[in-house]
């Protein structure tokens, strides 16, 4: 037996911080590294007598996700209290949702969703070192700035079967949520956090194995590392004749190890009950229409559209779908360049993207119209594909007009006036030894002629035309 005989079954639970102006239940602005406890109020500090009020935009974002993923929107959604004592919850309960989440079902890509619910984020605990010792025991300091930040918890069905699939799907989710504009979805900054439920079963089995819950995998790399380590561990346990114990495991990025979160004798008993301080959320037709109207085209749909409507390579299409700003830029350029074929336009856009390290295309000095003009110049042999790249480099640096750059820098393709034929003849005459080798059957030696020709024409010559002329003049 080996790992290959086992099928991993993985479900993800993702928490995303919503990009609202204010917290989930109070008017405090969201915090981005401010001084500790400067973004708090009676509500998010849990002061006696304070009451929560639901942020309308958080609900809107919830509905937006629900519409985007084809979820069933609850006709009547209720908040509930999840009770547990820990200083990261100012009230020692978290306002979350329990049996009536805002969204149920739906899917993204090949993965079905179980639910999406809204809740409040926990505060940050900073553990003090030696200096923070009080009477010999370690201490922590609580900063409630993050406490109460709106969160969406997205729970998938166990439809994922490898760490790579988990990573790819999470990336799709990330891009989709970013495009929906509901979150910054930055794993390193903690605005996207993923837990994984992992189990394994013998290939062919339909019954699910016992799952464990993996927490704290705060990067894509750690997510894969953690899942792979857990699959390996579970397979070893099962092959050793033991049983997997249902437990929560904490991934330690330092050691790459999974540690059991010891919960002592206390099996968590959250004592959920309907939050009496809040009233039901009943999404109206108007609220749902507003969400639908705000839906942008999502990556999966965009990739499909590129595949069917535009003649471009599959991986280019996927890239434009995942980076919708570049997708939009490409579409604008290709439309402006019509009826030219789209592939060369796509190639120029990809070239520009790599020159600016993937920065926002709007931030580059190059307009989609300039790309279209350049593509047209190549098509009409006003310049060569090679020189077009040089033009692009200048455009990316300085902006401006492709035609003007070509003229200024002498990057035009050579007109068909015999000039090139003369250069070819001259180079052939200057390199009799190379000619000898070519005639002796060494086709590769032709490169030794092309180089000097391109140099003499300062790159203006079309590579294909140069090859044709050499062959003709050497009567090959």
């Amino acid at each position: 037996m080996s790992v290959e005989d086992w099928e991993p079954v993985i479900g993800l639970e993702i928490h995303v911080q919503l990009k609202t102006n204010t917290k989930m239940f109070c008017g405090c602005e969201l915090s981005f590294g401010e001084e500790p406890n400067t973004r708090t109020c009676p509500v998010c500090l849990g002061l006696p007598g304070s009451l929560p009020v639901v942020n309308a935009r958080a609900i809107h974002y919830g509905l937006l996700m629900g519409e985007a993923f084809g979820c069933e929107i609850a006709p009547r959604s209720i908040f509930a209290r999840k009770n547990y004592f820990y200083p990261d919850q100012a009230k020692n309960y978290q306002i979350s949702q329990y049996d009536t989440p805002l969204c149920r079902g739906g899917s993204l890509g090949d993965v079905r969703l179980n639910r999406i619910h809204l809740e409040e984020d926990a505060a940050k605990l900073v553990h003090l070192g030696e200096s923070g010792r009080i009477h010999g025991s370690e201490a922590s300091v609580v900063d409630y700035n993050r406490g109460g930040t709106p969160l969406a918890e997205i729970v998938t069905e166990p439809d994922i079967h490898s760490a790579e699939e988990a990573r790819d799907w999470l990336n799709l989710l990330r891009v989709t949520l970013r495009q929906l504009g509901v979150s910054d979805v930055n794993m390193e900054e903690g605005s996207l956090r993923a837990d994984a439920n992992v189990s394994v079963r013998r290939r062919g089995d339909s019954v699910l194995g016992t799952k464990t819950e993996l927490k704290n995998m705060n990067s894509f790399r750690f997510l894969m590392q953690g899942i792979n380590a857990e699959i390996k561990r579970q397979v070893a346990v099962l092959e050793g004749g033991d049983r997997v114990v249902q437990e929560t495991l904490h991934f330690d990025p330092g050691t790459g190890r999974l540690d059991t979160l010891r919960s002592k004798e206390e099996a968590h008993d959250y004592r959920y009950f309907p939050e009496p301080d809040l009233v039901p959320v009943v999404p109206t037709e108007e609220m749902r229409l507003e969400a639908r109207a705000a839906l942008p085209e999502l990556p999966a749909a965009r990739a499909e559209r590129y595949a069917s409507d535009w003649d471009i390579q599959e991986d280019t299409a996927r890239l434009f779908a995942f980076e919708p700003d570049w997708g939009d830029f490409f579409e604008e350029a290709a439309t402006a360049a019509a009826p030219l074929p789209t592939r060369p336009v796509a190639n120029l856009v990809m070239e520009l993207r790599s020159r600016v390290d993937g920065a926002d295309p709007v931030a580059t000095p190059v307009s989609a119209q300039a790309i279209a003009a350049l593509a047209r110049l190549v098509e009409e042999r006003g310049t060569t594909p090679g020189n077009a790249r040089k033009v692009l480099e200048i455009l990316a640096r300085e902006g401006g007009d492709a035609q003007a750059i070509i003229e200024r820098e002498g990057l035009s393709a050579m007109a068909d006036d015999g000039e090139l034929a003369g250069v070819v003849a001259q180079v052939i005459a200057d390199n009799p030894d190379v000619v000898e080798r070519i005639k002796g059957g060494n086709q590769k030696a032709m490169g030794a002629l092309v180089g000097p020709i391109m140099k003499a024409t300062r790159g203006r010559a079309d590579g294909g035309e140069v090859n044709r002329l050499i062959r003709r003049q050497l009567e090959l």
């Binding site: 500090l45 209290r81 009770n83 009950f273 301080d277």
Partner: protein, 473 residues
């Protein structure tokens, strides 16, 4: 006693308006009385200097006593608990803001059962409040400090909170008027929570007119309280002198058996008066009412167990056990900070919500609550109001029920059904039994505050209760 103190709040306002007396004089007279209060009604009294007030404002500077359960900025807000000893919040409750905004400055904070859990004001970390009619007896609770202060003439009026009778029952036991409005009529923002789905704040006053005036200053939708509602009409000045055409239902389940004879007698006498004023009085049924108290003692402690989780020694209030780990700090703080009744209710509520018991207790109690609300809705088809004695007993002796929680809980037998249904109810003094006041409760459908106040006004005139004895001391 100064004549000033014999004026009702409405009369004092009129006198101020007419220039016969200044608001400073009213303030000083009551401030002096409050500071000299011998019933332990107050846990904090304002400084002697009269605060600046706007005499043209609706309440003209007539000061108000505020139950310690309300958050008041910079002023101790301790909820009767040691765990909040000398806690001074950075904000003020909406209800208090509205009243002070209407021109009534805060005279003091009044004693109460800890976190409003109790019916005698004996469960206070700051000692029991005494009944001004008889200092060997309790004033009722949990808003006993507010009730005693008004009854003793040590406050012109006061506000309290009512979760399962905590305004009506002490009003009855102290011989004054107390009203619990429709749930949601007054904002709960800043009212330290006991049981959120039941807590409602309301006025105490010497008479029905003052009650209406103070209630009118408190009500209104508050964007900071999701469960608050706007009343369909403002609270008016009650003026009815008869009950022509009014139909009063008397539920079998909440009268007769279990009611002290003296209380029952006073209740029946008031029903006779109602008939004389033109009302029809008929027996009716609230079939689920006998189960209201049991349902209440699941729902309220369950919500309380969660609401009181925040008292943990981290952000405010008492901390103990800081020499140990976090768990030790939590348990030591809560052990030292909470009194026995609070602990008892936290235990009941935690158990009722715990895994495996939710459906049998909390879920079922919520269904009983539905049934009770339905009972009242059915009653409104035939009646304008439901009438019961407010409390089954008159004020009992200090310590009499402290060791028997179930006996203590039974005090709210007649008050709790209205709380579960969220409907308004008033208690007016309707006589004495063995020299101690009895209370008459009138409840109506949601938002019927004006009609209840009018009917109570007519009854009050006919009863002619004299509460001055309690103000003599």
């Amino acid at each position: 006693m100064s004549e000033l103190l014999e004026l009702t709040a409405a009369q004092a306002i009129d006198a101020i308006r007419r220039g016969e007396v200044t608001s400073e004089a009213v303030w000083s007279a009551y401030r002096e009385r409050a500071a000299a209060d011998e019933n332990n009604s107050y846990t904090w009294v304002a400084r002697p200097e009269a605060p600046a007030v706007e005499e043209r404002a609706p309440l003209a500077g007539v000061p108000v006593a505020v139950k310690d359960l309300f958050a008041t900025e910079g002023i101790p807000s301790q909820a009767g608990s040691k765990i909040l000893e000398d806690y001074r919040p950075p904000y003020t409750a909406t209800a208090v803001e509205r009243i002070t905004g209407a021109g009534a400055p805060i005279l003091g904070k009044t004693n109460q059962d800890e976190f409003a859990m109790g019916s005698s004001t004996e469960h206070s970390a700051y000692g029991p409040t005494l009944n001004p009619w008889d200092r060997t007896r309790v004033p009722g609770g949990s808003s006993g400090g507010s009730a005693a202060a008004v009854a003793a003439g040590n406050a012109p009026w006061a506000i309290g909170t009512d979760t399962g009778g905590s305004i009506r029952q002490p009003a009855a036991l102290c011989g004054i008027v107390g009203m619990k409005p429709t749930y949601g009529a007054v904002s709960r923002f800043g009212m330290i929570a006991f049981a959120s789905s039941l807590d409602q704040c309301g006025p105490f006053a010497r008479d029905v007119t003052d009650t209406a005036l103070l209630l009118g200053a408190m009500v209104g939708k508050d964007p900071r309280d999701s469960t608050s509602l706007g009343l369909p009409e403002p609270i008016g000045t009650p003026s009815a002198t008869d009950l022509q055409g009014i139909r009063i239902g008397v539920p079998e389940e909440l009268t007769g058996e279990g009611i002290e004879p003296g209380v029952q007698k006073a209740f029946e006498a008031t029903l006779e008066l109602a008939k004389e004023l033109g009302a029809t009085v008929e027996p009716t049924k609230l079939p689920h009412a006998p189960h209201a108290l049991a349902a209440y003692y699941i729902l309220a402690p369950a919500e309380a167990s969660s609401n009181l989780a925040r008292y943990d020694g981290v952000r405010y209030g008492l901390r103990a056990g800081a020499d140990g780990d976090l768990l030790h700090m939590y348990t030591a703080t809560r052990e030292a900070g909470f009194g026995p009744e609070v602990k008892r209710r936290i235990m009941i509520g935690t158990y009722a919500l715990s895994s495996g018991y939710y459906d049998a207790y909390y879920g079922r109690a919520q269904k009983v609550r539905t049934r009770i609300a339905e009972d009242f809705r059915t009653a409104w088809d035939s009646f304008d109001f439901i009438a019961t004695p407010t409390s089954p007993t008159v004020a009992f002796e200090l310590g009499a029920k402290l060791d028997d929680p179930l006996a203590m809980y039974l005090n709210d037998f007649c008050a709790v059904p209205m709380s579960l249904a969220g409907i308004p109810a008033i208690s007016i003094p309707n006589g004495l039994a063995d020299g101690l006041p009895t209370g008459f409760q009138l409840a109506g459908p949601a938002f019927s505050e004006n009609r209840i106040l009018d009917a109570a006004h007519a009854l009050e005139q006919a009863i002619g209760f004299d509460g001055s004895k309690a103000r003599q001391a």
